[in-house]
């Protein structure tokens, strides 16, 4: 059992479940208190010790079934055994007795299995052969046949013919009728195909098990790095949760930073007040916060057609940011610019997005005009930008050949803490078409290429923390 459990733990680790050494020890500890025969208890107990995240439960459940139960039904569907072939003078039991007595040692697991139908023994031989063949290295389903063949040969397929000859001789020596011997041999020969299938099945399952992650759990890490342009519908849905989580993480980090960051000067008034209860003895000095680090952000997001595929994520992200940080204001623009801060605050993210794309703030289908948008921003909103404000512009800089008005960016940069441009297009495409990015970029403190969620998170983290 110990060996199996260790192997199972390895399997869980390989599929992305974190298991520490202390948890391994716990797993062994619980074995002493739980009857392994009680499958459900055993499973729940193992899960309680090993799986500490709700998300991992499904992976655990399926792997558990696959590992501890999988082998059994693998062998159970193989109905046709030695008992099903007709023998006359010779009884099946006698034949088995001969096999047990004479050839336990010398023969391969393959023949023994076919004659004795000892499933557990065969299964463990199968596992050993798999380990020897290096099955844990399988990464591609094209390798299944290769490994299956290798394992089959190791189980006894390689010397099958010579073993048959030896077996025939053995039976003949016992004085068994030649016809009956032939019947048994025929059964053995015909059964090899079934065993081959079985081994292949086993390898297939093993492959699935080892690369479980890939099949069952669409890993978040992969989604984080996947380019916005190639997300499927289902992935887009999943993104919503991830965005929410990322923003929550960001908030957490901001809180920790604020609490554990360096403290400022001694706050005399607060100290006196705090220490009144100690009769004026100053036992607990109180320090002021060094910097009140509350990020103030003004985000301006392009919602026109050319960036539609990313702007919805940006807007969702902004929406959650606004929930977490109070001093975030959001604007959207295409032909015109409009503020969506209060829209975000009043509506859940889906409805807010719906309203935006329906055009209840500005017409999102108008042709983008960066020049006009910057001008309007300068006129109406620049007053809200101060030296503690980070301004984030999200857009591809595709200006439909309008006046770029890039000088205005200088004004914004000068009156803000920093001006960051997040661009969903890579640098080489800045040269093409109506992109004005090359003109805008030099006026910003930083220009970041944001093609996936990870980029977005990192960029925003650096701005607000």
């Amino acid at each position: 059992m110990e060996k199996q459990l260790i192997e199972f733990l390895g399997l869980l680790r390989r599929n992305g479940i974190r298991i520490t050494i202390s948890e391994t020890i716990d797993a062994f500890e619980i074995l002493r208190h739980i009857a392994i025969g009680e499958k459900d208890h055993f499973k729940t107990a193992l899960r309680a010790v090993l799986v500490k995240d709700f998300k991992d439960r499904q992976v655990f459940n399926e792997l558990f079934e696959e590992y501890f139960m999988g082998g059994n039904d693998l062998l159970s569907y193989r109905k046709f055994t030695l008992d099903d072939i007709p023998l006359f003078a010779l009884s099946h039991d006698y034949l088995r007795k001969i096999v047990r007595g004479e050839m336990r040692e010398g023969f391969s697991p393959l023949i023994l299995f076919l004659l004795l139908n000892d499933k557990t023994r065969f299964l463990s031989a199968l596992r050993d052969a798999g380990a020897n063949a290096g099955l844990e290295r399988i990464t591609n389903h094209l390798q299944i046949n290769f490994f299956a063949n290798k394992i089959y040969l190791m189980l006894g397929g390689e010397n099958f013919d010579s073993e048959l000859i030896f077996f025939k001789k053995l039976l003949a020596d016992k004085g068994i009728d030649e016809k009956e011997i032939e019947a048994v041999l025929q059964y053995l020969r015909l059964s090899t195909d079934r065993v081959r299938e079985l081994v292949k099945d086993y390898v297939g399952r093993e492959f699935k098990k080892l690369n479980f992650n890939y099949f069952v759990r669409m890993p978040e890490t992969r989604l984080l790095q996947k380019n916005f342009t190639i997300l499927t519908d289902e992935e887009e849905k999943k993104m919503r949760d991830i965005i929410y989580k990322l923003a929550a993480k960001l908030k957490n980090r901001a809180v920790v930073k604020r609490k554990t960051g360096k403290k400022g000067k001694l706050d005399l008034r607060k100290t006196l007040r705090r220490n009144i209860k100690y009769d004026g003895f100053i036992l607990k000095p109180v320090y002021g916060l060094k910097v009140k680090h509350k990020p103030k952000v003004i985000a301006i997001c392009d919602v026109s057609d050319s960036v539609r595929y990313v702007s919805s994520f940006f807007l969702q992200f902004l929406h959650v940011m606004q929930e977490s940080f109070r001093r975030v204001s959001s604007f959207i623009f295409s032909g015109d610019i409009g503020e969506v801060t209060s829209l975000f605050l009043r509506n859940p993210s889906e409805r807010a997005l719906e309203k935006i794309y329906k055009g209840s703030i500005i017409n999102p289908y108008a042709k983008t005009n960066y020049g006009r948008v910057l001008k309007t921003f300068q006129k109406n909103f620049l007053g809200r930008v101060d030296k503690t404000t980070s301004v984030i512009i999200i857009g591809d800089g595709r200006n439909n050949h309008n006046q770029p008005e890039d000088d205005i960016l200088d004004d914004i940069r000068k009156s803000s803490k920093n001006l960051v441009w997040l661009c969903p297009e890579t640098k080489w495409s800045w040269w093409m078409g109506d992109s004005d990015m090359l003109r805008y970029a030099p006026h910003c403190d930083d220009v970041r290429i944001v093609t996936n969620l990870n980029d977005l998170y990192n960029a925003v983290r650096e701005i607000v923390l």
């Binding site: 739980i34 799986v51 920790v256």
Partner: protein, 318 residues
């Protein structure tokens, strides 16, 4: 202490807490291998209740620590009673000067005071808060740390020593180990991720909304005297609600409240009016209530009756 998983089930049931086999298994194990138990799940499925019942079923006292943002050591572990210390110092001023009298230098006086320092930093002046209280309790104790996710991340780190070694260190006095077996139950609503270090030290139990028949059992045991058909109706209806996308899904405690309300209204089965009138017990958001009312209306006008409760339809027709 429990001797088997069945015993857990049984004893919990005596205390009117119906739990799944999974919960019973994990509780049994956590008492057996002396590991804290971390319970997660949606609000209102009985996480805190499980902690309470665990104490009750074994006849142990329960010490509860409610977590919130800003909870710190002074409020959770111990505090020096400064005012008492100061008061004693005032009263004992004469004794103190007696001790220091005859010393030739300031240094000597400090040395002498040093020797009696222990008197002031002793357990007499220590104000134990829930965590320390649980550790030094004179009998086996269940410590319930409720909603640990509401506390700050630093507080979690501070819990680690208690959870893994059942001890805390007080700088002036040294290390306190648990005098009696301590069973720790932590609950979390998953508003933020609990750190791996904390999770590693605990057994994990995810409590979800129960199966229909388990919930029926719960209602029957908690709301005695309720008609069994009404129970079925209620649970079925609530389960249907949970399948709908709502802002807040009705939890078990809300099911129980509803059952109690319906019982006092002397209801024997559900019908549209009754549901409409009492829906606010079950749902806590105006939006949700509107949504469900519309849904019910739609279903009744479609001449399907309230599909939630087929029996109710019959009573309506009759």
């Amino acid at each position: 202490m429990f001797n088997s998983i069945n015993e857990v089930n049984q004893k919990f049931e005596e205390k009117k807490y119906i739990c799944s086999t999974e919960a019973a298994t994990v509780v049994y194990l956590s008492t057996k291998i002396q590991k804290p138990l971390l319970i997660e799940g949606p609000a209102g499925v009985g996480k805190t209740e499980l902690g309470k019942v665990l104490a009750d079923a074994q006849g142990y006292p329960l010490i509860r620590l409610q977590c919130y943002e800003g909870l710190d050591e002074a409020k959770s572990l111990y505090e020096w009673e400064y005012s008492k210390q100061l008061l004693y110092m005032q009263i004992l001023k004469d004794n103190l000067s007696e001790i220091t009298s005859g010393s030739k230098s300031l240094k000597e006086a400090v040395e002498k005071l040093n020797n009696v320092e222990d008197a002031f930093f002793s357990e007499k002046f220590l104000l134990p808060r829930p965590l320390l209280k649980a550790l030094i309790n004179s009998e086996p104790t269940v410590l319930l740390i409720d909603e640990v996710d509401k506390a700050d991340p630093e507080f979690e780190a501070f819990l680690l020593e208690i959870l893994s070694d059942f001890q805390v260190t007080i700088p002036e006095l040294g290390t306190y180990s648990a005098r009696n077996p301590l069973q720790v139950v932590l609950t979390s609503n998953n508003t933020r991720d609990i750190s791996d270090a904390l999770k590693r030290r605990c057994l994990y139990l995810y409590l979800d909304f129960p199966d229909q028949h388990v919930e029926e059992k719960i209602v029957k045991s908690r709301v005695p005297g309720i008609y069994s058909k009404l129970t079925t109706d209620i649970v079925e209806f609530v389960n249907k609600l949970r399948a709908i996308d709502l802002k807040k899904k009705p939890s078990i405690s809300e099911t129980l409240d509803w059952a109690r309300v319906l019982l006092t209204m002397n209801a024997k089965s559900l019908d549209e009016k009754l549901v409409n009138d009492t829906l606010s017990v079950l749902l806590k958001y105006d939006e949700d209530i509107k949504k469900i009312r519309e849904e019910i209306k739609k279903q009744t006008t479609q001449r399907e009756g309230i599909s939630f409760a087929p029996e109710a339809k019959k009573t309506l027709v009759n």
